[in-house]
Symmetry: C2
Subunit: 200 residues, 2 copies
């Protein structure tokens, strides 16, 4: 693998928030999950659990429940900006947190495991890179993570096989991007933050 | 970028824990940091801070301090296995948590920012993949993260420019792997865990 190509693949990954209503081929989905499973884990524990939701009925039910639960919340001072945006968006009945992507992958881990966010995030990043390599769009989805302690969401997730001792660390919406050329937008977002300092 | 090549790059990334005493070229280091900086961040906040330590004296001082602080700790019941291993290893004066790699990149973020572990971990994963693409070895290093609230370590990090309101989310040892052929070990570790379930 050419290093310049690898850097370009990484640099050109961007969030996709508009998806075509088109199913994702099993083979592509498997490659994305494979990339996630091969992320490093603390002590090679491999406890990250991938819940892959493609069933339209479940995607719709989950979207409705998430909207319903956010709509009970109030925006409070100092609330994280993206969370506040979700709470505000939930006032609109058309709000669908997973952008109606054909696939939502919830990444869960053991609640008591101190590297749960680290391991799960590495898996999510691998899946985003792999989606980009496949000309697919993807977007990190935090809404179920934010609601991981919400009783209504927990009960629904339990029905999908996520046990009570697990927490949802993040999620990924993935599918074909709804763009003019059918390819994900790949213009690298400029880096204005991310300070780098050197001790030489 | 060929999707199969991308998956192979991701699958073949492994932790390197033996490094040559050989400096890393600036150009390669810059590509690794660039990969880290282009990781996604919550709301594109780009708050991840990369502290790149190459100065041998600082690498040695930090290794000594980390060993010293771990050596004051006791292994307790239920302690995370890798942390317990570090505590035990610190009894030996030769313990160097960063495996004497020529470069240690500490990844810090705002303590009060709810996505600090997620963003930092995505950056670390990108850097590990990029190191692999450059035929370099790397290893996630958690010791400074575990000691991020330790007063001695905090004071030392403050002197290196990590402010008190920041936490160290992780670290990366990177350099030339000490192997027979000079290349990182790339045999994919089998996946025995990582359950995947489908809602179709």
């Amino acid at each position: 693998m050419n290093a310049d190509d690898a850097l370009e693949l990484i640099r050109s990954r961007r969030s996709t928030r508009r998806f075509l209503d088109k199913p994702l081929e099993d083979e592509k989905l498997e490659q994305i999950i494979e990339a996630g499973r091969y992320a490093p884990s603390g002590g090679n524990s491999q406890t990250t659990h991938f819940l892959v939701i493609r069933k339209k009925e479940v995607l719709r039910e989950l979207a409705d429940l998430v909207r319903q639960e956010f709509s009970k919340m109030e925006v409070t001072e100092g609330m994280y900006r993206s969370l506040a945006a979700a709470v505000r968006a939930s006032r609109d009945e058309s709000y669908v947190f997973h952008y109606s992507a054909p696939v939502l992958i919830l990444v869960a881990n053991r609640r008591s495991y101190c590297n749960n966010m680290a391991d799960s995030s590495c898996a999510l990043e691998n899946m985003m890179i792999m989606a980009n390599a496949l000309d697919l769009g993807s977007c990190w989805i935090n809404q179920v993570h934010w609601l991981t302690d919400n009783p209504v969401i927990r009960e629904y997730l339990a029905g999908l096989g996520i046990p009570g001792e697990a927490c949802v660390c993040g999620g990924l919406a993935v599918g074909y991007p709804d763009t003019a050329d059918g390819l994900p937008d790949r213009r690298p977002l400029p880096r204005t933050g991310n300070p780098v300092s050197y001790i030489d």
